[in-house]
């Protein structure tokens, strides 16, 4: 049992490190950030695009992709190594490109025509074009397949009407991956088709949604008679759900941290050292120590679970099912740990930003945590997935699986 790289991994790590040293500055300290943030202002978007282009040119942006598409035809472990090394440097955030490169483009690569792959993959990898994912709707968040956006065929085009919601980054996206209903008379999963479209298409209106935190990282997107060429359909008509499962599977393959906005036990310890309670320094208070220990074992447990996943990747194997526990644990930990930190801060814990202790880091974590427990698979859906796919327990009873979609209660 050891934490050593294989000889090949060590060589790759050295190569990555040398390139990073030549192209970036070392990171001085970890800054807390909004766990839900997708991008910041325009200035940092330019910096993000510049760094993305640099990475992409070297093949590091998506190591596992084929060389002709801008990757290195490398292993998942090599991507992990690159991410680890990059984390030590002060580079612009890759967040704006995460959805596109993590979900949309892999879907395009699996189902798109040769022409669309040639046209779109490299610009996305370089950060020239940003993608968003248009799945969720007001009537279907966790129940994605219950979506109602209609696409009707007219000649060689589809005419699309409806509304999407929670679309992260739509306000700065160039393209979108779209799941729509093409047959309302079919059973709900069987009447869906996947498309992609330019977000600049006539009839597409993006409206930012203000989050509880005050930020506006996601949007409503309204479609009024939007025309999509049939050439931009991904997969057969009526097979959209199968395509969507590919998209969602790619979401799950992401390994490593980044969740939780950089707030963990280390920050809590710093705070506990700095504050005085009724009986002395907070760090010496028995109740505080017990809570710190509880969160430490969860954090450490997650870290070492990641090591187990990396061990599988290093051997060229698929990650084990234990990889699926990360998001559930991190999201609740962020919420509870932040709230506890605010307790330690006392009345000052109710302040925000620069007026709050530690630049308001815990307040930001606490405010973004509810979104994290919901986005990208709610706690409840993730528990269902563990129960059904990992433990083999029966699926929920579905009352909407057999009926035609347009006969379901509440369907239009």
């Amino acid at each position: 049992m050891d934490f050593e790289d294989t000889a090949e991994e060590a060589a790759f790590r050295a190569e990555v490190r040398a390139w990073l040293e030549a192209n970036a500055k070392p990171r001085r300290h970890r800054e807390a950030s909004d766990a839900m943030a997708v991008d910041e202002d325009r200035g940092s978007m330019a910096a993000a695009k510049a760094w993305q282009a640099k990475k992409a040119q070297r093949g590091f942006a998506r190591v596992t992709w084929p060389k002709e598409l801008g990757g290195l035809a490398g292993s998942a472990m090599q991507q992990v190594i690159y991410n680890q090394e990059e984390g030590k440097f002060d580079t612009a955030s890759g967040a704006p490109f995460a959805i596109g490169l993590g979900m949309c483009i892999p879907t395009l690569m699996a189902y798109g025509s040769k022409d669309s792959i040639e046209r779109h993959v490299k610009p996305a990898l370089r950060g020239d074009e940003i993608w968003c994912q248009l799945f969720s709707e007001p009537a279907g968040g966790s129940d994605v397949a219950g979506l109602r956006m209609r696409a009707e065929k007219h000649g060689e085009e589809w005419i699309v009407n409806g509304q999407k919601i929670w679309t992260s980054g739509a306000h700065f996206s160039d393209y979108g991956l779209l799941l729509a209903r093409t047959d309302a008379q079919a059973q709900k999963h069987k009447g869906l088709t996947m498309f992609y479209l330019s977000m600049k298409s006539p009839g597409v209106e993006v409206r930012p949604i203000r989050q509880a935190s005050g930020a506006a990282n996601f949007n409503e997107v309204f479609f009024t008679d939007v025309r999509i060429p049939d050439a931009q359909r991904l997969g057969p008509v009526g097979e959209g759900w199968k395509v969507a499962l590919t998209t969602l599977m790619h979401e799950r393959l992401a390994v490593g941290g980044g969740l939780g906005g950089g707030l963990d036990v280390k920050e809590l310890l710093s705070l506990a050292r700095a504050l005085e309670l009724e009986d002395g320094p907070a760090i010496k208070n028995a109740g505080v120590r017990e809570r710190i220990a509880d969160w430490y074992v969860r954090s450490a447990g997650l870290k070492y679970t990641t090591y187990r996943t990396m061990t599988a990747l290093s051997r060229g194997q698929q990650p084990g099912p234990e990889a699926s526990i990360a998001k559930i644990v991190v999201a609740s930990k962020l919420q509870d740990l932040s709230a506890f930190a605010m307790e330690l801060e006392g009345e000052a814990g109710a302040l925000k930003g620069e007026d709050a202790p530690m630049h308001g880091a815990f307040q930001m974590g606490w405010m973004s945590a509810p979104g994290l427990r919901i986005a990208g698979g709610t706690d409840e859906i993730l528990r269902n997935i563990i129960a059904e796919r990992v433990l083999g327990l029966p699926p929920d009873i579905r009352v909407d699986k057999e009926l035609p979609f347009n006969e379901l209660p509440g369907a239009r």
Binding site: R289, Y307, L393
Partner: protein, 375 residues
């Protein structure tokens, strides 16, 4: 990255699982739970014949000279079947104490018969309810004789040898403590079997009245030696806890699939699905922390104390949760003597307290974090 057991170690695990599957059915556990015997002698003999008791004891002292990773693998399998044998007392505590602090002569004299399973050992610290602190130790060790009471002592009725945490000097605190090794068959030793929540792991009260004992380790080091032995035992015990917790999840899942209510398998209800998902999450976190503990133990890593505390706290939380929610999933029958749920419920609480309660280990963990941050 190679954060896993080796192929050989995994083979040992499979072999251990098969062996215990045959030699330690539930009725063996119930036999000790319901009977007067302190342990299952036939099983202990069979385990010793496999060489397990000597896994981490060097060949020079009669052991197999393998290592702690192999011992962790064995520990998990023992925990999975709730093996009613004094393995933890003898191997994780007594043997580790002798290996850590014994003189060459003591090792030569005491370890071979421990490795062979011929002798059972244990480690006695507590004397009364509440915390074990240097100040709470009243048992005296003067002029080579022990006087005082140790209670509860795991496997106290069956052990031949015991390491005793006692007070040798005038100093009322840590520096006055000493470790003594005593032959429990000698004069001045009176033992009384105690009633405990998990009678598959029996305990005794031991009263010493001028019992002859020998010194273990050098003066003034007793408390830190005890701490080190507890850290090592914590990692090994964490694997037992992980094994038990995994078994609880398997039982709960099997029951959830077999049992029907309201026209369908109870495992198809979200309340049950989410409960079992939560058990799974807890078990995997515990497994991961135990693995790191195993690495730290087997490499003598500097952060063993931190790793051990994390492994113990996480495994205790996982096994406690898995055991009680397994019983909950079974409904009424889970609360019967006939069903096996209570065996795990009892063992989980016993293991939770065996090396000291959560409160102490959490305090210790934060201590280690403070020390490592200060560096």
């Amino acid at each position: 990255m190679n954060f896993d057991f080796s192929d050989d170690q995994k083979m040992l695990r499979d072999q251990a699982r098969r062996f215990l599957g045959e030699r330690c059915p539930v009725k063996a556990v119930r036999g000790v739970l319901e009977g007067a015997h302190g342990h299952d002698a036939a099983l202990w003999k069979a385990i010793a014949e496999m060489g397990w008791t000597g896994t981490a004891i060097p060949e020079a002292y009669g052991g197999l000279g393998l290592g702690h990773l192999e011992l962790c693998v064995i520990a998990e399998e023992l925990g999975r079947v709730l093996a009613p044998v004094p393995f933890a007392s003898t191997v994780y505590l007594f043997a580790e104490a002798i290996l850590a602090a014994g003189s060459e002569e003591q090792k030569q004299r005491l370890l071979p018969r421990i490795a062979s399973g011929e002798r059972i050992g244990t480690f006695a610290r507590a004397e009364r309810p509440g915390a074990v602190t240097p100040k709470s130790i009243r048992t005296g060790f003067k002029g080579g004789k022990l006087t005082g009471t140790k209670t509860p002592v795991a496997d106290g009725m069956d052990a031949r040898h015991a390491v005793i945490l006692a007070r040798a000097g005038e100093d009322g605190g840590e520096r006055g403590l000493a470790l003594a090794v005593v032959d429990l068959d000698g004069a001045g030793v009176k033992r009384r079997a105690l009633d405990s929540i998990d009678p598959s792991r029996k305990h005794a009260e031991i009263v010493f009245d001028g019992a002859a004992a020998e010194c273990l380790g050098t003066g003034g080091e007793a408390w830190s030696l005890t701490s080190l032995v507890l850290d090592r035992a914590a990692v090994l015990m964490a694997f037992e806890q992980v094994g038990g917790a995994d078994r609880c999840l398997a039982m709960a899942k099997d029951y959830a699939l077999a049992r029907f209510a309201f026209g369908r398998q109870i495992g198809s209800f979200q309340a049950i699905k989410h409960k079992l998902a939560d058990i799974y999450i807890g078990n995997e976190l515990a497994r991961s922390n135990a693995y790191y503990g195993a690495w730290a133990l087997s490499t003598g890593a500097r952060d063993l104390a931190l790793a051990a505390a994390a492994a113990r706290i996480c495994a205790t939380q996982a096994f406690d949760f898995a055991a009680k929610e397994n019983m909950q999933t079974h409904g009424g029958v889970g609360f019967t003597w006939e069903y096996d749920c209570h065996l795990f419920y009892k063992r989980s609480r016993h293991l939770a307290l065996a090396l000291g309660p959560q409160r102490v280990w959490k305090d210790k963990l934060v201590n280690e974090l403070e020390l490592s941050n200060a560096a």
